[in-house]
Symmetry: C3
Subunit: 139 residues, 3 copies
C-alpha cells in the first residue's frame, strides 16, 4: 500500500468564501503514484468545510444567502458558544450543513469524477490561516 | 490490495425521488472479493445525493417535504444560479443537506451494517441519466 | 494491509445528547497497529450521527436548539413516518444535517487532527442501546 499526506494552507481575507482546491488535490494524487485507491480531503478546522459541487459563482452566492438564512451570524448573542468570547457559533453550524470532508475514488491514477464535480474549501470564519488535509491511500 | 470500481446508471422519470441501491452495492462488494476494507458510494452528479437511512415510504415523504421547506424549488428566480438558464439551484442546496457520499465498512466480505441501514440514491433534478460510483478497496 | 473493526456501545438516558468518543477511537487506532491509513467511524443506527466539531457545551446547546428549529420533534403527527407508530421522524432528519460518519486520516500511527477536532456521537432518539462502528485500514 502507498500513502501520501499533504497539508494545504488557506488564508481568506474575508469571513466567508469558497475556494476551488481541485488542482491541488489533483497534484497530490498524481505525486502519490497511487493508481487505485481513495483520497480523503478534509478541513482541519471546525468552522470550515470541504465539499464537492459546481464552480459557478451564482451558485456560490446562493449558498452564502441560504446558509445565512439557515444559521444567521447575527445577532451573535443568540448563541451560547459566543458567550466564550467567540463570535463564530454560526460558522460551526454552517460547516455541518456543508460537511467536513469528501472521499474521492482514485481510478487509473486520476480523480474519478463526474462531469461537474469540483472540490471546494468553504470558509465560514476566515481572516486567519487554516489547513486542509489531503491523504491518498492505495496502490 | 484489491480494488473494484463500478458505475451504476440511474434515470428517474420525476424531478425528485429516492432509490434503494443497496442490492447493487452488495453485489459489487461480493464480486470484488474484498474481505476487509471499505466501499465508497457517491453521486457523480452535483444535484444528487447518496445517503444511508430507512427504507420507509413515510420517511421519504417527510424528507421530500422537509427539503422543499429548507430549499424551495420555486420561485426559481430567487436563485442566482438559475440566471444561467438552469432551474435546479434548489437541487444543489438539497444535495448538501443529504450528502454526496457514504463510506461503508466491509467486514468478512459483507457490508458491515446496522439493523436498518440501507443505501439510497437521492435525485433532486431527474428526468435524465446520472451515475453513481461504487469503489471497493481492501484485501 | 491491516484492518481492525470495533463496535462501541452507546446508551444515552435522554432522547438527545452528544458524547465525545475520541478516546475510544484513538485506542482502536493504536491497537490496530496501522501507521498510515484511514479510520471510518459511523453510527450504525439511522437516528444518530457521528460528526467532528468542538467539545464546548455552549456549542452543543446551540446545535440542540438549531436542529430543533430545522426539524422540530413536535407535533409528532406532522410526519408521515410517525404514522408507523414511531415518534422519531425528526431524529432521521436531524441525523442528515449532522451526518452519519467521519473518515479521519491516520498518519504516523495517530489520528491526524487539527487543533480542535473531536469526534462526537450525536443521539437524536436515545434511551436505548446503539452502536458505533470503528474501522481502521492501512499499513
Amino acid at each position: 500500500m502507498k500513502a501520501r499526506t499533504e497539508y494545504l494552507t488557506l488564508h481568506l481575507p474575508t469571513r466567508r468564501g469558497f475556494v476551488n482546491i481541485t488542482p491541488e488535490v489533483r497534484r497530490v494524487v498524481e505525486e502519490s503514484g497511487v493508481r487505485e485507491g481513495m483520497v480523503l480531503v478534509n478541513a482541519m478546522h471546525i468552522s470550515a468545510s470541504v465539499f464537492i459541487n459546481d464552480d459557478e459563482s451564482g451558485l456560490h452566492h446562493d449558498y452564502e444567502v441560504w446558509l445565512e438564512r439557515l444559521a444567521p451570524h447575527a445577532p451573535v448573542d443568540q448563541y451560547r458558544h459566543n458567550d466564550t468570547g467567540e463570535d463564530n457559533a454560526d460558522a460551526h453550524l454552517k460547516r455541518q450543513v456543508m460537511g467536513r470532508e469528501v472521499v474521492v475514488a482514485v481510478t487509473a491514477g486520476q480523480l474519478d469524477f463526474g462531469p461537474w464535480e469540483q472540490i471546494f474549501y468553504g470558509e465560514f470564519d476566515g481572516r486567519r490561516k487554516k489547513r486542509v488535509l489531503v491523504k491518498v491511500i492505495g496502490e
